[in-house]
């Protein structure tokens, strides 16, 4: 029994890290920003944490804090120019940002290890730590959702003119969403660094972007449950059968096409809508 659990532990660790990154992607989409920069922020956090441990020999807690702060700083920095753009232009600009980070990373060989990656990072983070941080992130997203920030984000996403007419500052809220996104990505990037022994620059490129985006699209973009469920499905699915694992990226691809065309709100949001509609209908029937 314990052997089975131990066998699935790496998968669970991956889930915990990716949930954090999924929330980073989720929170910007929720605030109506089409940013895909989570992969870059994660890379910045991971490398900062890694360099703190390898080159400076600092305590992991300091490294994680530094990773979180640099991720957040990069996000705030990026949010200023991005406030001028909308829609696909934001998407393109953030993809360009990922490319800039990737190529700078490869270029700064003396600091980051370049294309060879950053190796020999002491492993100081285990499942327990990951679980605590994933739980904290989930709690924070849940808290945001039911407070005034969630309400403001919802209004901005659905109609910027209405939001502004009600006194909601779009620039300020989107910058805040960015800051949260960057901090989460930086933190979980740092956790990844301390969990994996080594970092590779291409780990934080287009592939990660797609993976993270898939979790959020599949699960849903409006409730805290969405990324949790989306991430679980996409991580477990390839493990169920070997052919599924070999074609992991085909599954992701087909899933993206099918979900965005037929269940555009994601499965959790769609299910919740259906439950709500049913409840209203039942209430009507009991009244009449």
């Amino acid at each position: 029994m314990s052997g089975i659990i131990a066998g699935y532990l790496p998968l669970f660790d991956l889930y915990l890290i990716h949930v954090g990154l999924a929330f980073s992607q989720y929170i910007v989409l929720r605030a109506g920003v089409f940013s895909l920069a989570t992969a870059a922020f994660a890379g910045i956090g991971a490398y900062t944490a890694g360099i703190f441990a390898v080159n400076l020999g600092l305590h992991p807690a300091i490294g994680l804090l530094a990773g979180t702060l640099t991720g957040m700083g990069a996000a705030i920095f990026l949010s200023i120019p991005l406030a001028r753009l909308r829609g696909v232009y934001q998407a393109i600009a953030t993809v360009a940002f990922i490319q800039i980070c990737l190529s700078l990373n490869v270029y700064s060989e003396s600091l980051t290890g370049g294309a060879m990656g950053l190796n020999n990072i002491p492993k100081t983070v285990g499942t327990g730590t990951l679980f605590v941080f994933a739980a904290l992130a989930t709690y924070m997203i849940w808290a945001i959702e039911r407070g005034r920030l969630g309400r403001a984000f919802n209004a901005i996403r659905q109609d910027e003119a209405v939001a502004a007419s009600l006194g909601i500052s779009i620039t300020r809220h989107q910058m805040l969403a960015f800051a949260i996104s960057g901090a989460l990505a930086g933190l979980f990037g740092g956790l990844e660094a301390y969990h994996a022994y080594a970092l590779d620059p291409n780990q934080f490129g287009f592939h990660l972007l797609i993976t993270i985006l898939s979790y959020v699209i599949l699960g849903g973009r409006n409730t805290v449950l969405g990324p949790l469920v989306g991430c679980a499905i996409l991580i477990i699915l390839p493990e169920l059968a070997r052919p599924l694992a070999e074609n992991r990226m085909v599954i992701y691809g087909v899933m993206l096409i099918v979900v965005i065309n037929y269940v555009p709100k994601g499965i959790v949001d769609t299910a919740l809508d259906a439950i709500r509609a049913r409840r209203l209908k039942m209430r009507e029937e009991t009244v009449s």
């Binding site: 120019p81 753009l85 232009y89 393109i92 360009a96 490319q99 003119a161 502004a164 096409i257």
Partner: protein, 296 residues
């Protein structure tokens, strides 16, 4: 050798033009950013390779590549975008859906090629070097430049001189009005996607020949460069994309030649970023890209 570099840059520009014209054409007509375009480009190179490997002549591979890429592009439109257009969620949804399509196509290609780098057999394209005025030009380079110019001219003729082009532009301006005029927008879209895919496929073959290296991931950098090109040219603008390809091909060749290697991409994408900020609608575009509502 600045002149030699400029010449090389010119040839590269032609390939970029073929790739980004289709990309920008599709955006212009539907406001969809088709991120599967890189995979379609790669498909062109693969089809040509397997035709030659199967004993066919290169010209046949080239034609089959163009047809297959065009058809694949139409398929992507039908499967990924047609339904989204009805729900009006094509801007966000189109990106997601086409990322999905790109994943499916590249993964299939990865399995077909067993993750190998494919190379055309030696002398698939005769290696002949011309020398004049101290410059070296290979026959392949001449062929690439020639093919690019001819295909771009064909596209220009179609879009600006034929009834098909008028229909494309009518649908771009106003889909509903075009429908009332008896134009079937879906048919126009399919034709546009075919053209876009065919051009990308041709570019794929040329790139495959030039570097003699074909992999399932070869489309990714070109897709990234095409972002820079079509933003520079103004999303949806054909002359803009053409001009931007020229600028981009030159600048890239020169930075590779004269600047520390590894910084090229940083410079390219940093300038893309700056262009987005300063002039989001590009050098020739006229779109209101910022779409800033109100003075915020």
């Amino acid at each position: 050798m600045l002149a030699q570099q400029l010449l090389n840059g010119l040839v590269v520009s032609g390939v970029y033009a073929l790739f980004s014209l289709g990309f920008t054409l599709v955006f212009g007509i539907q406001r969809i950013l088709n991120l599967a375009h890189g995979a379609i480009f790669m498909t062109g190179a693969m089809v040509a390779f397997y035709t030659v490997k199967g004993g066919g002549p290169l010209w046949l591979g080239f034609i089959l590549a163009i047809l297959a890429s065009g058809a694949l592009s139409v398929l992507v439109e039908i499967v990924c975008f047609r339904r989204l257009r009805k729900t009006g969620d094509e801007e966000f949804g189109g990106i997601i859906s086409s990322i999905g399509a790109g994943l499916v196509i590249t993964t299939i290609a990865q399995q077909v090629s067993s993750t190998q780098v494919l190379r055309f057999p030696f002398e698939t394209f005769p290696v002949v070097i011309f020398k004049f005025w101290g410059l070296r030009v290979s026959m392949l380079q001449l062929f690439m430049a020639g093919a690019a110019i001819i295909l771009v001219l064909i596209l220009g003729y179609y879009v600006y001189r034929t009834a098909f082009g008028r229909r494309i532009r009518a649908v771009t301006d106003n889909e509903h009005a075009a429908m009332l005029m008896g134009i079937n927008p879906n048919f126009v879209y399919s034709q546009t996607y075919f053209l876009a895919g065919a051009l990308a496929g041709a570019a794929g073959v040329l790139v495959g020949l030039a570097f003699n290296s074909i992999t399932f991931l070869m489309g990714e950098p070109y897709l990234m460069f095409a972002f820079a090109i079509i933003i520079l040219g103004g999303l949806g603008s054909i002359p803009g994309a053409l001009l931007a390809s020229l600028v981009f091909g030159m600048v890239q060749t020169l930075t590779i030649a004269y600047l520390p290697s590894g910084l090229t991409d940083t410079i390219i994408f940093a300038s893309l970023f700056l262009i987005l900020l300063v002039r989001p609608h590009g050098i020739l575009g006229k779109e209101d890209a910022g779409n800033l509502r109100g003075r915020r």
